[in-house]
């Protein structure tokens, strides 16, 4: 009765999800892996001209934009993630220390999470406009000449900076939210005890808040890295599907969709799959690294 198994009944409940998962999740994992090893795969009929072990991988690595894409992806991840994690941690701590207007601030900081990256990306493009954007105007107050950030002809480094500002801005909301709820779940007793021991505020932050929050910081950092590896929509929102001037902001995922956008070109789908596999292994590496670190480092 209670401890009995209800195999049949359980699978009936699971059936709708299961069918969808098999078709749209499990099968694709296998299939995408297989496409990587197929020569000139035809996506509509499934024909292919034979097998290749490394042909498609070589093709993607040899792609004109592969190394720039790797470079961009890594820069985006290693700049925007630490910046947004640190900023949002501080904002969360400050937010947690006030009572009045806490809800209002919380709501404001959360806005970027719910809004459309394409729409806001366009607004950022306007702000970073060379001729009449707000950002160049602010720089001009410091005597800096107008810079072309986003328009065709923009230099890579400037486009990258503008993109990083947008991505960091976009990533704050979720992190502030999670950190704040983490802070609110920390037992007040720790803080009371620290006060009785007359610990200074910065000491409390370093010795109590950060260690107690460390599992959450680790979790957020790792998921943000994975998210940053997959950056695409924000770039399209701000710079268009060309991924910046002459594709200079191309990322790995950008390569996937660029190739998938021309599925009739021979080998294109296999190229997309290979790029996805590269992304998959980057993510996997990070996850394994994270598991290794969190075993050693997370404070409790």
């Amino acid at each position: 009765m209670l401890e009995e198994r209800h195999d049949f009944k359980a699978w009936i409940y699971l059936l709708p999800a299961l069918i969808l998962l098999i078709v749209f999740t499990f099968y694709p994992i296998v299939n995408t892996f297989m496409i990587v090893f197929m020569v000139d795969y035809d996506f509509l009929y499934g024909d292919y001209a034979g097998w290749t072990l490394t042909g498609n991988i070589e093709a993607v690595i040899g792609h004109r934009q592969f190394w720039p894409a790797i470079r961009n992806t890594i820069i985006i991840a290693f700049v925007s993630v630490p910046m947004s994690v640190i900023i949002s941690l501080f904002i969360a701590v400050w937010l947690n220390s006030i009572k009045k207007l806490q809800g209002t601030f919380q709501t404001i900081f959360f806005l970027p999470y719910v809004t459309n990256a394409i729409a806001v990306g366009l607004a950022f493009a306007v702000i970073f406009n060379r001729d009449y954007g707000l950002f160049n105007y602010l720089l001009s107050l410091f005597g800096i000449d107008p810079i072309n950030w986003v328009a065709p002809g923009a230099e890579w480094r400037f486009s990258m900076i503008a993109l990083l500002v947008f991505i960091t801005w976009n990533g704050l909301a979720f992190k502030i939210m999670v950190f704040l709820s983490g802070l609110q779940s920390i037992d007040k007793q720790y803080y009371d005890a620290a006060r009785i021991d007359s610990a200074s505020r910065s000491r409390v932050f370093r010795k109590i808040t950060v260690p107690l929050l460390s599992p959450m910081i680790a979790f957020i950092t790792i998921t943000s890295f994975i998210g940053a590896f997959k950056e695409y929509t924000a770039i399209v929102g701000m710079f268009g599907e060309q991924m910046g001037h002459r594709g200079q902001l191309m990322t790995i995922v950008g390569l996937v969709y660029e190739a998938l956008g021309e599925p009739y070109t021979a080998g294109s789908v296999s190229l997309a799959a290979s790029a996805a596999i590269v992304l998959f292994f980057m993510t996997l590496l990070l996850t394994v690294f994270n598991m290794w670190v969190s075993k050693k480092r997370v404070h409790y």
């Binding site: 401890e3 009995e4 198994r5 209800h6 009944k9 359980a10 699978w11 409940y13 059936l15 709708p16 999800a17 969808l20 998962l21 749209f24 499990f26 099968y27 694709p28 994992i29 995408t32 996506f43 509509l44 904002i91 220390s97 006030i98 900081f109 959360f110 806005l111 970027p112 719910v114 809004t115 459309n116 394409i118 806001v120 366009l122 607004a123 950022f124 306007v126 702000i127 009449y132 707000l134 065709p152 801005w169 909301a173 979720f174 939210m177 704040l180 709820s181 959450m216 957020i220 997959k230 399209v236 929102g237 268009g240 996937v256 969709y257 998938l260 997309a272 799959a273 998959f280 993510t283």
Partner: protein, 308 residues
């Protein structure tokens, strides 16, 4: 605060107040600064959407607009002008896709979360672990094959795509979500087992128990899932971009992006007002939903962070 000579000295009342004022001034100032950074893009969007081309092109940016200077015509042109993209249509498409995929998602999610939380079956742990593991895999892995699948089903006609094909292609792959199953299972698990036993003793069937007891108890979580899923569809870009081949079947994000691409090499200041108007039109419903259902959304998001 311990003094050098080991004597404890106490702050005077005045010192305490001064310290507190300094501290709070600092905290509120810095929070306000960051809040402004967050708001400026939205403000700029609205501001620009109400500007005439000459104001937009002004080298010293216009920071405020008087009401009589506001150019509401931008909204009219963005929405209704014959040569502008058909945003009304895109919104209708998006609402339809969001509704279908959300209803589908919630049904499959409730049923399978119940199985995982409440029923015993063979390979339960193994299957669940498998699901969790797939959450680690980047979505692009699925997207490629799913694109192939819907193409082979004949739903992505490159020419003359049929509406119901586009809708099917945009919804069906998203009618279940491992993350939401996991999320709802957590909530279901918190319902005490005794409730189930009590219901059993009273002769309640499993499905009745799920429907009459579990679902009402888990209502806040279910609402959160509904909202997050619907908002996700509203903001969806990549997948519809791949499978909706006719402009008329665009979702809002795709329509907006196409508009921006179309004007890229035109004199921008002529169109940026309309573009921002369109951007705000598709942002506005999300903001309304957000302010109405703030609690559900924020709670859902902060919890999803904790649970991992």
């Amino acid at each position: 605060m311990s003094a050098q000579n080991n004597e404890t000295t106490y702050d005077t009342r005045r010192q305490i107040i001064v310290k507190r004022v300094v501290r709070y001034t600092f905290v509120y100032t810095i929070l306000t600064f960051f809040a402004l950074l967050v708001i400026i893009p939205f403000y700029w969007m609205i501001l620009t959407s109400l500007m005439t081309p000459d104001k937009i092109a002004s080298p010293v940016p216009v920071m405020f607009l008087r009401f009589r200077d506001m150019q509401f015509g931008n909204y009219y042109e963005a929405m209704f002008a014959p040569e502008a993209p058909d945003f009304i249509r895109y919104m209708a498409n998006t609402v339809l896709v969001a509704a279908i995929s959300t209803v589908g998602t919630i049904i499959t999610t409730i049923l399978s979360a119940f199985a995982f939380a409440r029923l015993n079956f063979k390979f339960k742990e193994l299957f669940f672990l498998l699901l969790i593991a797939t959450m680690m895999i980047p979505g692009e892995m699925f997207v490629i094959t799913n694109f192939i699948t819907v193409s082979r089903l004949g739903w992505v006609e490159m020419v003359g795509q049929q509406y119901h094909h586009a809708i099917l292609a945009m919804t069906l792959p998203f009618m279940t979500s491992i993350f939401y199953i996991f999320f709802l299972r957590q909530t279901f698990k918190q319902v005490p087992d005794e409730l189930y036993y009590a219901a059993k003793v009273d002769g309640t069937k499993d499905f009745q128990y799920l429907w009459k007891i579990m679902v009402p108890i888990a209502r806040p979580t279910i609402i959160t899932i509904l909202i997050l899923n619907a908002m996700g569809t509203w903001n969806a870009f990549i997948w519809p971009n791949l499978v909706a081949t006719r402009p008329a079947f665009n979702l809002v994000s795709n329509g907006l992006r196409e508009f921006a691409t179309a004007i890229e090499f035109l004199p921008q200041e002529e169109y940026i007002g309309q573009q921002m108007a369109a951007a705000f039109v598709i942002t506005f419903p999300i903001l309304v939903v957000f302010f109405l259902l703030k609690k559900h959304i924020m709670r859902g998001v902060s919890r999803s962070g904790i649970k991992g």
